[in-house]
């Protein structure tokens, strides 16, 4: 209220009629006063968009995904096509990223490697998601003795050295794309299970869970419909961070000779092949796979960090 109006009121002066007109009901104005109502995901997306680093990581990954699908088609050369007269050519109009010691086109092989890396990373993340969420959800929701036993198992698995177990399994199963994914997920889901269990323990005593229980909902339904949607934030962050771990592991194993086998290309294989040529100055053979491994891991890491901030309700403003 204006100070002048207040003064008039207190002095019992004549009050103009227009002061008593009911305020016009203006729906639009009423809406504009409060801040727009946003769902959890809309708000997270809004906050993620403000994080430039995370968004650049996101766009790089979109670009990488597109190139992984269409990149090999753009080039006239195939992955395993060997032209021995074209050995170790530097980048040119015909071979955009140069060629390797067998005359294979590095451009095609780089995008083929992107396919392998993204496939391994995403598959590992999804399998970890399914096993970890189921295991962690049951363990956290059941509690008591079930939880105790399940957690002891996790504790032991957690103590196993990840890459050593993977190497051991690959030696026995033989290297292939499928065995790499199996080996990576045999112990990889443990981290996810721990996170989900912790989250479920925090929220399982809320009223909405009790309400569901009193309606007679089964454990499976409560975990799926009540508990998991409320833990999606940390789960997604964990998945985003699983992908670079798996990509690194694949590159590392390929580098050790336990990964994808020739003639197929993966970034780790390409970096390993290029290792001997550093001294001869064929920099492009190492540069492209090395750059894309690092950039992809960087992109997933900054996107994961950004999501962590964006999906944390405590940081909501």
């Amino acid at each position: 209220m204006l100070p002048a109006a207040r003064e008039k009121e207190t002095h019992h002066h004549e009050v103009p009629d227009e002061w008593f007109k009911p305020k016009e009901k203006d729906e639009q104005q009423a809406e504009s006063v409060v801040r727009p109502s946003l769902s959890y995901w809309q708000d997270a997306w809004r906050r993620l968009k403000k994080n430039k680093l995370a968004m650049s990581g996101f766009f790089f990954l979109v670009f990488l995904g597109i190139m992984a699908v269409f990149g090999p088609i753009l080039s006239p050369h195939s992955v395993s096509e060997q032209v021995l007269s074209n050995q170790n050519q530097s980048p040119s109009v015909t071979h955009w990223f140069g060629t390797d010691d067998l005359g294979r086109d590095v451009f095609t092989r780089t995008w083929y490697g992107a396919r392998i890396s993204l496939f391994v990373g995403l598959m590992a993340a999804f399998i970890d998601f399914f096993i970890g969420v189921t295991y962690g959800g049951i363990s956290g929701y059941k509690g008591g003795r079930t939880d105790n036993v399940m957690m002891r198992i996790i504790e032991i698995l957690y103590g196993l050295p990840y890459l050593l177990v993977v190497i051991l399994l690959l030696v026995v199963m033989g290297p292939s794309l499928l065995t790499i994914i199996i080996a990576l997920t045999v112990t990889g889901w443990v981290g996810m299970a721990r996170i989900v269990r912790g989250q479920v323990l925090q929220i399982k005593h809320n009223e909405f869970v009790l309400a569901s229980q009193s309606f007679g909902a089964k454990t499976k339904r409560i975990i799926r419909k009540n508990l998991l949607p409320n833990t999606m934030g940390p789960i997604i962050v964990q998945m985003t961070l699983t992908v670079p771990t798996a990509i690194f592991a694949e590159a590392f194993l390929s580098f050790l000779g336990l990964g994808i086998q020739s003639p197929f290309a993966s970034w780790g294989v390409m970096a390993n092949d290029a290792l001997g040529t550093i001294l001869s100055g064929h920099w492009w053979r190492l540069f492209f796979p090395a750059f894309f491994i690092s950039a992809t891991m960087f992109a997933f890491n900054v996107l994961g960090d950004g999501l962590q901030d964006a999906l944390d309700p405590k940081l909501r403003r």
């Binding site: 504790e155 032991i156 103590g159 196993l160 050295p161 990840y162 890459l163 050593l164 177990v165 190497i167 051991l168 399994l169 030696v171 026995v172 670079p244 690194f248 590159a251 590392f252 580098f255 050790l256 000779g257 336990l258 970096a271 290029a274 290792l275 550093i278 001294l279 920099w283 190492l286 090395a290 491994i293 690092s294 950039a295 891991m297 960087f298 890491n301 900054v302 960090d305």
Partner: protein
């Protein structure tokens, strides 16, 4: 505390037992006997060899003998290099790898903590920004990529350091740098976030209010508490460094454990792969055990919890 140590010790023994068992049965899944791999031998020689390696015994007896040999730290022979045993490779390679590992951990811990503390003290400043960019890059660039880049830049293009082998302190700079950058970045990020949290605590304000110098407050009061999370991940970092030595020793041609391990993988020398894996795992699990005990000793809350929980 004693109870906690006993519990952790039991867990450690179980973990090693599981790894050993897994290794044993995986090894038996492999097609063919380890002996008929190479050349054809006559029947009598074959039988004698099998008896020598106890391969004629039933599987369960072999398993017990195998566990016994692991308990006595005897990891068996190599099949691809008849004059070598896993133990002879271990005793030659392990000291070199240990040297590489210890220097790497020292470098990573000291520089990582320093970087994290400076970043936290200059929160949102230029140093913070630079330090965290370096940290994310350090996490993103795989150590074998970094190693090859370092060789290319500092050994080939500029003749600052020798490119390979392990004979003088100058030879050690590049491998340690390549191996330490990743763990350093992780430690720096962790130190920074934990330091930022600690600096807002009341006891820091109290210490400042008492008139203590800022340096003393940071070192004696803040850092000591901020470093607890760093201690917890030391075990994981050690695992990373240990597996990292495989590629680093391969790239720099360092005659350590890792190089023998990679060679045995490439030659499919199964007994050596299995033996070294068990050794590495037992070593790592033991390190994790030590880290946990150290954490228990450093953090008084664990003792309280243990007494309360019974």
């Amino acid at each position: 505390m004693a109870k906690y140590i006993i519990k952790r010790f039991a867990l450690m023994v179980i973990t090693v037992l599981i790894i050993a068992t897994l290794t044993f049965f995986l090894m038996n899944l492999l097609p063919g006997s380890p002996l008929n791999e190479e050349r054809s031998t006559n029947e009598a020689v074959q039988q004698n060899l099998e008896a020598h390696f106890n391969l004629d015994e039933p599987l369960i007896v072999q398993y017990v003998l195998y566990l016994k040999s692991i308990a006595t730290l005897d990891f068996g022979p190599s099949i691809k290099q008849p004059t070598e045993t896993v133990n002879s490779l271990l005793s030659r390679g392990f000291p070199i790898s240990a040297e590489l590992g210890i220097w790497t951990i020292l470098t990573a811990v000291i520089s990582g903590i320093a970087l994290g503390v400076f970043a936290a003290l200059k929160h949102n400043g230029l140093i913070d920004y630079i330090a965290m960019t370096v940290a994310v890059l350090g996490i993103s660039v795989p150590n074998f990529v970094l190693a090859t880049l370092l060789i290319q830049e500092l050994a080939v293009n500029r003749d600052f350091f020798p490119a390979a082998t392990w004979s003088s302190p100058a030879h050690m700079v590049l491998p340690i740098l390549a191996l330490a950058t990743g763990p350093m970045a992780i430690i720096a990020r962790l130190t920074r976030s934990s330091m930022l949290e600690t600096l807002t605590q009341d006891y820091i304000k109290t210490a400042r209010a008492k008139g203590l110098s800022p340096v003393k407050v940071i070192i004696k009061h803040a850092l000591r508490n901020a470093l607890m999370p760093v201690v917890t991940i030391l075990g994981t970092l050690m695992a990373g460094i240990l597996t990292g030595t495989f590629v680093i020793e391969k790239i720099f041609a360092i005659p350590g454990m890792g190089k023998y391990f990679v060679d045995s993988i490439n030659q499919r020398d199964y007994p050596v792969i299995m033996g070294t894996t068990v050794f590495y795992s037992a070593f790592l699990v033991f390190m994790l055990f030590l880290v946990d005990i150290a954490y228990g000793l450093l953090d008084p809350r664990i003792k309280l919890h243990d007494e309360g929980g019974g």
